[in-house]
């Protein structure tokens, strides 16, 4: 059963970096960040490509963001997506997940789709909300934190991870939406010829007019959203820190383990 697959990808600043707050306190400083494909979305992309390879079909990689997201879309093309779509939302921070999801849902409506995939969460904002919102907005059955997907006649069987290692298995009719968990598969590396080919493939751009909007600020929302401010985290508590040469730290750690009774000698 050939499937039209749409995988929603997000480009995020590498979360291992250190971050500074912008002077206006409403965003981080973005001038010297390096960006990458969100971790869970790598697994969502791989799952989409595997479903296509097994069942036939087509994968559209969809994202929203400024021009800088294009290398991420080319990476998706090189890894097996057939088409790349960039919604030209030029807000570098795009903090309001509700607005992002409404724009994504409106864009997905313009595409043929049987199955929409997202990562379970983004490692930058950690909302775990885009997939569920899109499912609700489009009226699609959905399942979250998915670790296994099997295509059955006319539908899907999926395993969803819960806390403590439990899993719930669900069956879903199509069309549907799934949010894919980290580690659901082993993402592939793009072969060099595919990278070369992807560099020449066109990227489709979606502007507000294509969705019947006069601008990205005119997305109809049932609320107003404002960033009050960003700050370094207020430490709840903090460890007593041990610094200095490794040999000294080793002595201190050994002494500590003895003091606390974890080592007899």
């Amino acid at each position: 059963m050939a499937l039209n697959l749409v995988v929603c990808l997000k480009q995020i600043p590498n979360p291992d970096l250190q971050f500074q707050i912008a002077p206006d306190g409403k965003d981080i400083k973005r001038d010297s960040l390096n960006y990458k494909l969100n971790g869970a979305d790598e697994y969502a992309l791989e799952e989409a490509v595997r479903i296509k390879e097994k069942n036939g079909g087509r994968v559209v990689a969809l994202t929203l963001g400024p021009k800088r997201v294009e290398p991420m879309l080319r990476e998706a093309l090189a890894k097996g997506a057939d088409e790349a779509v960039r919604v030209s939302l030029d807000d570098p921070a795009a903090f309001d997940v509700g607005r992002n999801a409404r724009i994504l849902a409106a864009t997905i409506k313009t595409l043929p789709y049987d199955l929409v995939l997202t990562g379970v969460q983004s490692d930058d904002y950690g909302n775990s909300a885009t997939g569920g919102l899109v499912a609700g907005l489009l009226g699609l059955p959905h399942a979250s934190v998915v670790t296994r997907v099997a295509v059955r006649s006319g539908g899907l069987e999926v395993a969803c991870e819960l806390e403590g290692g439990l899993e719930r298995v669900y069956s879903l009719p199509l069309p549907a939406l799934l949010t894919i968990q980290f580690g659901a598969n082993t993402p592939r590396y793009a072969p060099l010829p595919a990278i070369m080919k992807a560099a020449r493939q066109p990227i489709k751009e979606v502007d507000p007019e294509a969705l019947g909007l006069t601008g990205w600020d005119s997305v109809p929302l049932p609320y107003s959203f404002d960033v009050v401010g960003l700050a370094p985290p207020s430490a709840k508590g903090h460890a007593e820190m041990v610094t200095g040469p490794v040999a000294d730290q080793a002595k201190r750690l050994a002494q500590l383990l003895r003091e606390k009774g974890f080592v007899r000698r």
Binding site: D124, G126, E157, A159, G237, A239, L257
Partner: protein, 323 residues
Amino acid sequence: MAGGVLIIAEHLDGRVAPSTLELIAAAGRLPIDRHTVQLAVLGHRVQEIARHLSGYAVDVLLADDPALAEYTGGAYVQAVRSLIESARPRIVLIAHTAQGYDLGPALAGAMDLPLVTNCLALTLDGDRLVALRRILNEKVQMEVEIRSSRPIVVTMRPGATPPSGTGRGMMSVTEVPVSIDPTAPRATFVRTERPEVTDIDLSSADVIVSAGRGIQKKENLALVEAFAKAIGGVVGASRPLTDMEWLPKTRQVGQSGKTVRPKLYVACGISGAMQHLAGMKDAGLIIAINTDPTAPIFEVAHYGFTANVLELLPAVVKELKGG
């Protein structure tokens, strides 16, 4: 009853999730009449859970329907929708658990409601809800403000609010009918799978030494194992290591793995993502080793060592043997 808080309880196998008691406490901190806080228990034959929760000084709404016997996003969204339409709350509180972030966003999408997720704290000031969140690997905190005339769906991070205690008086349990359209396309529950236990049980260990991405290579696990052996501990891991299959899934500490409370927990090269901290923050003594002094693991650790874990572990094993 309009204008209050509607809490959605979470339960599994007849047990209430600890996060539900945290939601009751979080609702209690908002500047609203406590009689406008209601807690919804959804399920089938869950009267006992409803009665139990009414002992936490909240009025309980019981939505009993065979379609709610096992959690499914579709049926829950339909049931909560009818509760919201009758209770007309200002805020719908849901835990940011695997089940909660399946439900909350889908509910907000289906009903076209405002949503803010994974919150640490809330303040309510007139029509203005301000939510405190953490972003970018816990390195930045952020306050966002939502204003709306519609109910705001909020998910709260587990562990962020101290849970509510019992003994503040039994309140009422009211059975409320909910309408669930059995023909609406939705996920249907097939079965629950439980992990087979064939490995050591981390949750009964007194001493756990956990490895994270900072150990860089699978071969370096030997250093962690040698140190664990020297202090009579067992080896655990953060999620990235079990995802890469350097260690079996049974060794994973964190929200999606084991929650542990050993006497000693040593975190080796673990930065301390929220999902990991949730599984180990209540250990008796926490020692963290990480070269990044700003890593969030140091917020829950009692002692922090900034040496490279690959150099410090062999050195401390030598100290312990020679000492």
